[in-house]
Symmetry: C2
Subunit: 363 residues, 2 copies
DNA sequence: CTGAAAGCGCTTACAG
DNA sequence: CTGAAAGCGCTTACAG
């Protein structure tokens, strides 16, 4: 497929950074070692005179020297790159997460490479391999539903890795999540406190812990008020949710169920769900009160101001970046190496009135 | 900042691919060269016996050998990676473009690294440098408004690069765009044919050619029907559009202007604009007919089915990937090297009825 | 204070 | 048919 005109190609390729440390050394009349030291600012110990250092730096600039990071990585063993693997880059939540992770990583001198799994475990494995051999120094991963075994492999190899948004409670691994259980519970309680007695839950059918936590938060809120009814819990397949959402909402609005409140467990579900409510001519909140996990752009097109759980995406990204860098820097010889620190960041319930309700920690 | 415990670190780092070609060679009792040939499937010329090749492959698998792509790239001069630089990863159009580019590149054995510029030329330059030294074999770039000079630099260095979505007509560079002028013109004509006489245009204020083309398409459509009125053309700053959109729409709906149609030149503008119309209580299409460049999620929440221009994102991604790979493979010694092929892909106007209107090529 | 040398893991032209 | 060696560009322990 690829013509292997290596020499010609390398010429071209190296056009980016044709001039090497050797070239500078020759020009200045010193060794490559000295050039390397100066250019890496390791000449502090006055090994190299200020004058010489200056001369080297000037010559490097003059010759448009650009370091070959490939060679540097090969030698030093690290690449200053973090691999970010998200489940769905076209989901605005993950896109925004990617944005903030990049911003944060930059502050620490790391670049971020993004890959997309489309919620497929097979693809997640593939992309981990691709990025691993790029290489990256560590991973931030939004894992797929059955991706736990592959994540374990990574851990066994002592690859720095941090999970984000989702986590596996049975694996000892650094993770950054929001307090899904509490957030969900408070959201439902808000609906109940505003008069709802029959609150429906619409969530994805998933073994992922954050999904279960959100569901459990809803259930416990309902139970506490003695109004839990399992038939109001609707779990939808991710792969067919676009089709299923209509049926689900019809069912919850039918005579037998007739809910007076609805809690959507993710932004994609609330987007699709609210669209469906709109098409069915159901007025929110007159006919039905609604609360959502995550803001949805649908909110902008409704008369009602919908309460929702605001995830602190920036803080989540920051925490994940810091955790993974910590692992990268960690002396793995030291047995105190701490690969497991689950960071749970509180989310906030944003309500139209009488002001935002801040969640208090679980008690 | 980073502890340089190199040896320990390399240990850890190489944990990913600790076993090298040498190790396999030693185990099997052959040279590293033979192992390399077999593993790269270059043993066709029967240089190495089938049996030996099989033995090497089995041993490699047994030892969990994973090639070090870093070393390979250093040696061969290419990385099989394409750098994708987008202006705003949180814009669903670019996120979707990124998705399709990744899918396509994968088919050719390339991985894609994504970076985000947030519409900042400074950041674009920075990310080009970061990716260049990763390295990547070529770039697909959604350039920023004043990024042309930096793109020129890339070209001078013979770096394979393809622009997408936007382009610079004064630079000889491969680009993939939609037929902005025609699409925009046909969209406006659709509004005119449906009874509009005063059509407002809402676009970003920008020197980028695709913006100008969309504007010109609108102007020419209006002029052709003898109803062009410059005061109905509204150009908004990207950085403040969230604030400006309300004022702009108020102005177009005021007594002096009172448009009967509105054309939004991008999806972010239509999203914000339709939200604004909604809040102002303006009914579409009863009070105002609307047409948009790109589908907006806002459409799902309106009674009216809004006509819009559908960009063939998948085809755009495919074309860009193919163009950049072509350049990467190109023998740069040959002077026929063709670095300039602007691919213009037709977009379609999607109308609620009586069926989709397909654009015919410019004539 | 500085240079020569080794080596990261790989590929490939060259010598046998 | 196969191995030994060179070299991609860099960094760093070592020898002076």
């Amino acid at each position: 497929m690829i013509k292997r005109l290596t020499h010609i190609f390398v010429e071209n390729f190296q056009g980016m950074s044709r001039v090497s440390i050797k070239d500078i050394a020759r020009e200045v009349g010193v060794s490559a070692a000295s050039v390397s030291l100066v250019l890496n600012e390791k000449d502090e110990g006055s090994r190299i005179s200020k004058d010489l250092a200056k001369k080297i730096r000037e010559k490097a600039k003059e010759m448009h020297y650009e370091p070959n990071n490939l060679a540097r990585s090969l030698r030093t063993g690290y690449s200053n790159t973090i691999g970010l693997i998200v489940a769905d880059i076209s989901n605005v939540f993950f896109a925004s997460l990617a944005f903030h992770i990049q911003e944060q990583a930059e502050k620490y001198g790391y670049s971020v490479i993004i890959a997309n799994t489309n919620e497929s475990t097979l693809k997640m494995e593939k992309m981990i391999n691709v990025l691993k051999s790029k290489p990256v120094d560590g991973f931030i991963i939004v894992p797929t539903e059955h991706g736990d075994s592959y994540i374990c492999d990574l851990l066994k190899r002592h690859t720095p890795v941090v999970l984000i948004d989702r986590f596996f409670p049975h694996i000892e691994i650094s993770s950054v999540i929001v307090d899904n259980y509490n957030s969900s519970r408070k959201a439902c309680e808000y609906l109940i406190n505003n008069g709802c007695r029959r609150v429906g839950l619409i969530a994805y059918k998933s073994e992922l812990q954050h999904t279960k936590d959100r569901k459990q938060g809803y259930i416990d809120a309902m139970k506490t008020h003695g109004i839990y009814d399992p038939s109001l819990v609707k779990e939808i397949d991710y792969s067919t949710f676009a089709d299923d959402i209509a049926i689900t909402i019809d069912s919850l609005m039918s005579k037998e169920n007739r809910v007076d409140g609805m809690f959507f467990a993710t932004n994609t579900l609330s987007m699709a769900g609210i669209k469906q409510l709109f098409e069915a001519g159901i007025q929110v909140p007159r006919d039905l009160k609604v609360c959502c996990f995550d803001k949805s752009e649908a909110f902008d097109f409704m008369d009602a101001k919908i309460p929702y759980i605001l995830q602190p995406i920036r803080e989540m990204g920051k925490a994940a970046v810091e955790l993974v860098i910590e692992q990268i820097k960690q002396d793995t010889n030291v047995e105190t190496a701490n690969y497991k620190s689950v960071v749970e960041i509180p989310a906030r319930l944003i309500t139209p009135s009488p002001g935002n309700v801040s969640f208090s920690p679980s008690s």
